[in-house]
Amino acid sequence: MSRGESLLSVRDLRVFYGAARALDGISFDVAEGEVVAIIGPNGAGKSTTLKTVSGVPELLKTTSGHVTFAGERIERRPAHRIARMGMAHVPEGRRVFPDSTVEENLLLGAHRRRRQRAAVAADLERVYERFGVLRERRSQPAGYLSGGEQQMLVLGRGLMASPRFLLLDEPSLGLAPLLVSQVFEIIAGLAAEGTTILLVEQLAHQALRVADRAYVLEAGVMSGGDAAAAVAADPHVRAAYLGA
């Protein structure tokens, strides 16, 4: 696969929550068409990185540094304008609209594509193919879904935006082993179709299998940026995250 220009470039990003330092000057790049994984312990700042890139507003947060997406500086831009540029963020924590049906939830993911009705319908069909249980429950309120099913719904909603750049925060959280394998197959499939993906995941071995490159984020400091296979071979990573 050919690697294009750097689609996302983060330089010297610092984030504070109140007095607590979450990110201490991290820099990384994601090239067009690439799958990049960020691995690291809880509380290292992985979710903070994704939220800062996609512009999610948070209380008491102060940032400094540059974030460039598709050639434009976006670190001061609100989330909805960043989303309009083709970035979709699938957050941790299963935020569904509980009183809307499963299908309405999915269609909300595509609400910026109102004019492309045929394409949206085709994408909806593909989400249903990938997650059969969502088709079974398409007309039920999303609040009735189990935790794992809600996780599938949130993922499906992210895919409905047909994004150029997809941020995935713990996509496997709370999924049964069989579904975890499926989710990583879906990620690989999206990558093969040319979607650029930035992935945060606790299941490090799965993440490193699907990623082209990987970074290790520990206590707000980022290292690595090597090919995923090289990161997976690193003794420290093997001991800390792969259980080898």
Partner: protein, 624 residues
């Protein structure tokens, strides 16, 4: 992440007063400046009252306004108990103002009660009235719960008009005297409220506000606690009404309009809901503000409009109210200090005896046998059977895993067993006795404790308070004792606090006891849920995906933790998708698929079961 954050205190999460709890159990992360700072607002209030009374003693107008400010503040403190701490909105509280005035100033003299004792009549009369009203509406939610008191508020003035006969003269003919008496009652109200929020009751109220389902699962009978909050709140407003009646030397139904109830709410919201000082600031701001001659002349006919507009502006500009905003500035200041690396290190968490650091079982039932016996459990949601005829037996002292595909009914099983849902059919027995008909709170008292898959922490309470409130059912302290903080209630407080610190040590969160629970990372929030569940010293601990979002090393630590829980005698029912954890830890594994049990047995046998592999594990996981 090392915690260097001096988090703003949770609403009402003020550190204990010195002497109330030994210095050994003072939480870390208190405000810079130490203990004295916390008493400054009270000292300032007392000085203000004395100075104002002295300076304006000749001004009938200003003494009158000052009196109004004092008793409106008492009313606002009462409304805050309900709105700020318990999270319930009532738009009928002005009715209790009238009721208190009527009971205290008219009924009491008529019954031969000395005038000065009228406040007792006002307090208890309004509280009983509030309780009656709450009994009618506390099972309702949101909008409906707000509307019933609204209707009630409209009813009371009509009753007063009918009952209006002779007016009793107040005991305080001197304006200045009434001013000081009102100030005294305000101080007493603040003292009681201050005690309340640092007691078992106050924590239960806040827990209901933050997550009612978690409060119920932790042994709080939400309905009765809401009723008590309603009654207490009405009592405070009743006392305010009694003071108001002395001022006007009459009880007027005019002040019980919905408009007036709305003003109480606005005062609390503008001042800061769920804070001690907020309602006082709000009441003072409005009373003194409207006392200024220019304001009076300009807005005489537009008071309601002014309240509405100010309320709107305040809510949109500072949703946490004036006091909440002040806390924000305090946090910003500490952030600034941290940048300069000058922040004091948070105090080390207190040490507690080793036996308090371990899980324990409260009831010492016979050593062996079946803890949980479930027969033929069925639960349908609409047309979908989440559980169909499930039988399950959990043996004492084991770790019993419940696995299955997403949506197979695992969480529903826990919800039905812990009393969140009623089953359609089936029996649930704990220690051989049926627990049918028990509420979630009742089942917690009988020895069931749980965690939640979609974290249900009380986010705006501190980590320590979460665990202390989790121990709700292990203590018995009445509301009145909590309000006046009797020695017995202090002892209970100290015991709960020590136990909570011990359990925080156990799960590795002792360093974060003073932080708000909502600021923890996902994995730490899961650990906190475990500590909170253990705080009730349960016989059976039901864990819903405790390892979700944890990385490998954390999962290993969690496995060790759960072995210690089991070794302490607590039986564990575990829902989990991490197979290393399930296979390495469980004595028995049961598998659900589409609400039916498809397999059960020791881990190796279940792992090799063809149906389990096909429905759940997949070839890859089964092989690894």
């Amino acid at each position: 992440m090392a915690s260097v954050e001096v988090e703003g205190q949770a609403p009402g999460a003020l550190p204990p007063e010195p002497g109330a709890a030994g210095p050994a159990v003072a939480p870390p992360g208190r405000l810079p400046g130490g203990d004295l700072v916390r008493f400054l607002p009270i000292v300032a209030l007392v000085l203000f009252v004395l100075a104002f009374g002295h300076a304006e003693s000749d001004s009938r107008k200003w003494i009158d306004i000052g009196t109004e400010a004092m008793y409106l503040a008492v009313a606002a403190v009462g409304v805050n108990v309900l709105l700020g701490y318990t999270g319930l909105l009532s738009l009928g509280h002005a009715a209790f103002f009238v009721a208190g005035g009527y009971a205290g100033a008219i009924l009491s003299p008529a019954l031969g009660i000395p005038p000065w004792a009228g406040f007792l009549f006002a307090f208890f009369g309004s509280a009983v009235l509030g309780a009656v009203l709450a009994l009618m509406c506390c099972h309702l939610r949101g909008f409906y719960l707000t509307v019933v008191p609204f209707g009630f508020g409209a009813l009371i003035p009509a009753i007063v008009v009918v009952a209006r006969n002779q007016l009793g003269h107040g005991p305080f003919s001197l304006q200045l005297g009434l001013f000081y008496v009102s100030a005294l009652f305000l101080l007493i109200s603040l003292y009681l409220c201050w005690n309340l929020v640092r007691s078992r009751w106050g924590r239960a109220y806040m827990a209901i506000r933050e997550s009612e389902v978690a409060a119920r699962a932790s042994g709080v009978n939400a309905y009765w606690y809401k009723v008590s909050a309603f009654a207490l709140s009405a009592g405070f407003v009743g006392v305010a009404g009694w003071l108001g009646a002395q001022r006007f030397v009459l009880v007027s139904s005019q002040v019980a309009t919905p408009d007036q109830s709305f003003r109480y709410v606005i005062m609390v919201v503008v001042g800061g809901m769920g804070t001690i000082a907020g309602p006082v600031l709000g009441a003072f701001g409005f009373s003194f503000g409207f006392g200024i001659t220019w304001v009076q002349n300009t807005f005489r006919d537009y008071q309601g409009l002014l309240y509405g507009v100010l309320g709107l502006i305040a809510i949109s500009a500072a949703p946490e109210g004036a006091v909440g905003n002040f806390r924000r500035y305090l946090r910003a200041w500490s952030r600034h200090r941290a940048r300069q690396e000058r922040l004091p290190r948070p105090a080390a968490p207190p040490d507690v005896p080793a036996d308090l650091r371990r899980p324990a079982v409260r009831t010492t039932s016979a050593g062996n046998g079946t803890v949980l016996q479930v027969r033929g459990l069925t639960k349908r949601f609409g047309g979908v059977a989440a559980l169909s005829a499930v039988d399950l037996a959990v043996e004492r002292g084991t770790v019993h895993a419940l696995i299955g595909p997403n949506g197979s009914g695992k969480t529903t099983f826990i919800d039905v067993v812990t009393g969140i849902y009623e089953p359609d059919t089936g029996r649930v027995e704990l220690d051989g006795a049926s627990i049918e008909g028990l509420t979630a709170a009742g089942r917690n008292r009988r020895g069931l404790a749980r965690t939640f898959q979609n974290l249900q922490l009380w986010r705006r309470m501190t980590v320590l308070e979460n665990v202390m409130a989790g121990a709700h059912s292990t203590a018995r302290v009445g509301l009145l004792r909590s309000l006046v903080r009797t020695p017995a209630s202090r002892r209970v407080e100290r015991r709960l606090q020590e136990r909570a610190w011990g359990l925080l040590h156990f799960v590795g969160l002792a360093g974060r006891g003073g932080d708000l629970a909502g600021t923890l990372t996902f994995a730490d929030q899961r650990r906190l849920e475990i500590a909170r569940a253990l705080a009730s010293d349960p016989e059976l601990l039901l864990l819903d995906e405790p390892a979700a979002g944890m990385q490998l090393s954390e999962i290993h630590a969690l496995a060790d933790l759960m072995r210690e829980v089991r070794d302490a005698g607590v039986t564990v029912l575990l829902i989990e998708h991490h197979m290393d954890l399930v296979m390495g830890l469980s004595d028995v594994v049961s598998v659900l698929d589409y609400g039916e049990k498809i397999a059960e047995g020791p881990p190796e046998a279940v792992r090799a079961d063809a149906r389990v592999v096909a429905a759940y594990l997949g070839e890859e996981t089964a092989a690894s």
